[in-house]
Amino acid sequence: MAKKGDVVIQTERCKGCEICLSACPQNVLAMSDKVNSKGYRYAVKVNSACTGCTNCAVVCPDGVITVYREK
């Protein structure tokens, strides 16, 4: 079974480019309905299927995603 992971998104730094969404093989991420203080919709976690593969974080232009994975 795949390991479990989790992501933490710094929503204030997110610019809403959506590149992380298509990079996630588990479809964990989606865009928020709310906006941050700069007016960008930001990425949010919508399910618990994350495996901690780090794809979203590697491809995030602004480096807003931190990834954790069970050991």
């Binding site: 479990k4 992971g5 989790d6 933490v8 730094r13 610019k15 809403g16 480019c17 959506e18 590149i19 298509s22 990079a23 960008y40 618990s48 901690g52 780090t54 794809n55 979203c56 974080a57 590697v58 491809v59 995030c60 232009p61 602004d62 480096g63 995603i65 931190t66 990834v67 954790y68 994975r69 069970e70 050991k71």
Partner: protein, 253 residues
């Protein structure tokens, strides 16, 4: 949901300490931002943060010195390879890189680029190619594709009057001074990781004093291409990659 995984011992990916905490000024989805981080991670993984000197260009990445937590200087437009030559010759044991866009490197700084590569100056040139002058509003660059629209080629680039797009990497790969020339992209996780590996290789070759290394990163410009970041990456795959093919152009045997 089971236990909370957000604990320091489970951390597998965080923004590298070689980048400062300053918010990047680049547009949403810009390849500059990812390229900055891949280069910073390469520097971090080699443990050479204190030994690295970067030269920022003029263009969108003019403020690169705010983001890299290494010694940085700023060059006049296109002159980064000349400045890097001076720094590297005075401090030959430091790792020196220039970070330049296509307007800076392939237009205004063509002479400096080609002569630095021809002399085999021992530093890394990072070349971001999005086929356009981004910072000044999307004018045609030497790298603009045939029939690609820009503000100064509104009907598309006509190669009869405007010349053909310039493949800088192939051009400098033909010079004896260059040691490693490769073209990559950062629009998918796999491509971004390959780019980081290329940066690491180039920095290692620099330690061995092998000659000039040039890594071209084919990138997008969502704002000036007038697309969303996702559309711009797709457009890049369909239009840029057939002309600017990815992979090693000159690699040591």
């Amino acid at each position: 949901m089971a236990e909370n995984l957000i604990k320091p011992e489970n951390l597998v990916y965080d923004k590298t300490k070689v980048l400062t905490d300053r918010v990047l000024h680049y547009c949403p989805g810009c390849g500059h931002s990812t390229t900055h981080r891949m280069l910073a991670e390469a520097i971090d993984e080699l443990g050479i943060q204190g030994e690295t000197i970067g030269i920022a260009p003029v263009g969108c990445s003019v403020l690169a010195y705010y983001y890299f937590d290494v010694d940085m200087t700023e060059a006049a437009h296109g002159r980064a390879p000349a400045v890097a030559t001076g720094i590297k010759r005075v401090l030959p044991d430091k790792y020196v890189f220039t970070y330049q866009g296509d307007g800076d490197l392939a237009a205004i700084g063509t002479a400096e680029t080609i002569h630095a590569c021809n002399r085999g100056e021992n530093f890394l040139i990072v070349f971001i190619n999005n086929g356009i002058y981004g910072m000044t509003g999307g004018q045609m660059a030497p790298t603009t594709l045939e029939n690609m629209k820009s503000t100064t080629s509104p009907r598309g680039r006509d190669v009869k009057t405007m010349g053909s797009p310039l493949k800088i990497s192939e051009l400098v790969a033909s010079l004896p001074g260059t040691y490693y020339v490769a073209r990559h992209s950062v629009h998918t996780p796999a491509n971004a990781r390959k780019t980081k590996r290329a940066f690491k290789k180039a920095l290692e070759y620099q330690k061995e004093k092998k000659g000039t290394c040039l890594i071209e990163v084919v990138s997008n410009c969502p704002s000036n291409w007038k697309m969303t970041p996702i559309e711009s990456n797709k457009w890049m795959e369909e239009n840029m990659f057939p002309f600017y093919s990815l992979g090693d152009i000159k690699a040591p045997k």
